[in-house]
């Protein structure tokens, strides 16, 4: 592997890690408050991507500014997160809150199946994309290698902003602190006068928006096909599991590890591309069954 290729792989990997992190962040946030891993999260990603491609195609003219196009991506994420997130949380998950955790998991799985068919119904099976955004931002040269500004600058920046933004929000803002309280103990939080139901909805929508934002940011550089949501839910779960459920900083590191390893595999052993993230997850879980960054927890007997 030459240095040029390694640099390219690194740039690709960091960019991909950014997307992965956004999706995983949403997943881990929802897990924290709801106590379930939302399998339908992959659908948020797919809907975010498809909606973004529709929005971008709708506004894109040869002279549309990059700002407007990026706004279209963000708008797609907000709309999808708000609509699908609310539909799933208020329409379904709230009804099964007190049931067996397995059944709750299955409900999100069933919702995922439904969403995936809806997505195929709305956007069809032919590949979609939003390449206009990448062109509008132009390219940049680093160490004699040409990168697109979109991949090397924009995606990682959004991921970093989301990371610090969410951390500050959870630590400083009133609602953020309430979310943390509900994560620790729903009962105690309710007793203290926090509206746990409203916090649950809010967290779910924020998580859904993050998942959709990952999809929207992926739309300009990937061709969206049916099944992309499945790939993403498994991948982002492997990030979350590698980091430890509920670990935000851990998810950032795990996303970088998996993103970069995956893109190195793309350049050197393309057949193994799909397998690498799982190998990393399996390797980590063999040594640390609860993920890299989880602290020990008491068992209830």
């Amino acid at each position: 592997m030459t240095v040029d290729l390694l640099l390219l792989a690194l740039a690709d990997g960091v960019s991909y890690a950014g997307l992965l992190f956004l999706v995983a962040l949403g997943l881990t946030l929802i897990f924290g408050v709801m106590g379930i891993v939302n399998v339908a999260h992959g659908a948020f990603f797919a809907f975010g991507g498809y909606t973004a491609s529709t929005f971008v195609v709708a506004v894109a003219q040869p002279d549309t500014s990059a700002f407007v196009l990026l706004l279209a991506l963000v708008a797609a994420a907000v709309v999808v997160g708000l609509l699908l997130g609310t539909a799933l949380e208020a329409g379904l998950l709230r009804r099964v809150q007190d049931k067996d955790p397995i059944l709750q998991l299955l409900v999100t799985f069933a919702a995922f199946m439904i969403f995936e068919d809806l997505q195929r119904f709305i956007w069809g099976a032919s590949p979609r994309s939003a390449a206009a955004v990448v062109d509008s931002l132009g390219t940049i040269e680093l160490f004699d290698v040409t990168y697109t500004r979109y991949q090397i600058l924009l995606v990682p920046t959004v991921a970093i902003v989301a990371y610090f933004g969410l951390r500050t929000f959870l630590r400083r803002a009133r609602i953020g602190k309430q979310i943390v309280a509900v994560t620790h103990s729903r009962e105690v939080a309710t007793a203290l006068g926090i509206n746990a139901r409203r916090i649950g909805w809010l967290t779910f929508v924020i998580g859904a928006m993050l998942g959709a934002l990952g999809g929207a940011l992926a739309a300009p550089t990937t061709s969206l096909v049916p099944g992309i949501g499945t790939e993403m839910i498994v991948l982002s779960f492997s990030v979350v599991a590698t980091a430890g459920l509920g670990q935000i900083t851990g998810a950032l590191i795990a996303a970088l590890i998996i993103g970069i390893a995956r893109s190195i595999a793309v350049y050197t052993m393309p057949e193994l591309e799909v397998v690498v993230p799982y190998l990393i997850m399996v390797g980590v879980l063999l040594v640390r069954p609860n993920g890299l960054f989880t602290v020990a927890q008491a068992r209830r007997i």
Partner: protein, 317 residues
């Protein structure tokens, strides 16, 4: 469910399957598919008893199916019975190895690790074209069954009768397993794992043996499926197939082994209906039904029947 009701249902089912199959030849293939799906769902039910759910169990059907295909390519004159046995063996060995790793995890970790492993298998089978035939899959010629070579019609009849017998025997065995010490301990993992460990039992070992049993059942289902379809494709191990198995298991309920087969019958009826009237909305229909079942009848058909039987007993007294 009372013993009596189970006997009546099993006898009626067996007569209906064989009778309908012999009277209306087009029913044979769907009937074998029902039994094959039922066996796979039975495997998933074993895991459900332990409170675990796997989104990747179809990989064992896939492993067994490809074992059948590879073996037949290497030794074209092998008997169908040998092929199925080899497929089940391969799935059980794979289950024993994978099991050592996955039984350390519970709940979502268990489900997603299985999903991840099945995705790896699926993508490898799709990509390694030279070995696996890629997405086109591998063809399987009609083998002899028990040393007798059949024409197409006779082959399907023989497979149908064999599947009915195998389904009844295995359903009974699995029900026996549920009632055995190991099976009750498996249910204990769902109730309270820590207490189980305090009794001196190793939860991992119990779950592992359950996992191997369920892998063998799903493997048998895959080997039968491969024989009746005459073709194996990577789709056999796709997550949607695993999801269908889980769906059937939930639909049928985990209170009795019979539930898996009743779930499979209903599943096939829904599937045929969807193919006729709602093409392209298969997942939507599956998902919606699953949600309705979870909300309205979380114990499945078998649970409803048990409830009905108890009420009837109550009225009789």
């Amino acid at each position: 469910m009372s013993e009596h009701l189970v006997r009546v249902l099993v006898a009626a089912g067996a007569v209906a399957f064989v009778g309908l199959g012999l009277a209306l030849p087009w029913i044979k293939t769907p009937a074998i598919f029902v039994l094959s799906y039922g066996l796979a769902a039975l495997g998933v039910v074993v895991m459900l008893r332990g409170g675990q759910i796997s989104f990747g169990h179809a990989m064992f059907a896939c492993i067994a199916g490809y074992t059948v295909a590879f073996l037949q390519r290497a030794y074209p004159h092998l008997d169908g019975v040998v092929l199925v046995a080899a497929g089940v063996l391969a799935a059980s060995v794979a289950g024993a190895i994978i099991g050592v790793f996955v039984v350390r995890y519970r709940a979502i970790f268990f489900g997603m690790l299985n999903l991840a492993l099945s995705m790896v298998l699926f993508s490898l089978l799709s990509k390694l074209y030279e070995i696996s035939g890629g997405t086109d899959g591998l063809r399987i010629d009609r083998p002899t069954l028990g040393g007798i070579s059949f024409d197409r019609d006779g082959y399907e009849s023989a497979l149908l009768i064999a599947s009915v017998v195998v389904a009844i025997v295995l359903g009974w065995l699995v029900q026996r397993y549920f009632r055995s010490a190991a099976g009750e301990a498996l249910a204990g993992i769902k109730t309270n794992e820590a207490r189980l460990e305090y009794l001196g039992l190793s939860a991992r070992r119990i779950l592992w043996s359950g996992y191997v049993i369920s892998a063998a059942l799903v493997g048998l289902s895959g080997a039968l499926f491969a024989l009746v379809q005459g073709l194996v494709t990577p789709e056999m191990g796709y997550w949607l197939r695993s999801g269908e198995f889980v769906f059937i298991a939930i639909l049928g309920g985990s209170v009795h082994a019979l539930g898996a087969f009743m779930g499979a019958i209903l599943f096939t009826i829904i599937k045929l209906g969807a193919a006729a009237w709602l093409t392209g909305f298969w997942q939507l229909l599956l998902g919606t039904t699953l949600i309705i079942v979870i909300l309205a009848a979380p114990t499945g058909i078998a649970g409803l029947l048990r409830l009905g039987a108890r009420r009837a007993e109550g009225d009789g007294r």
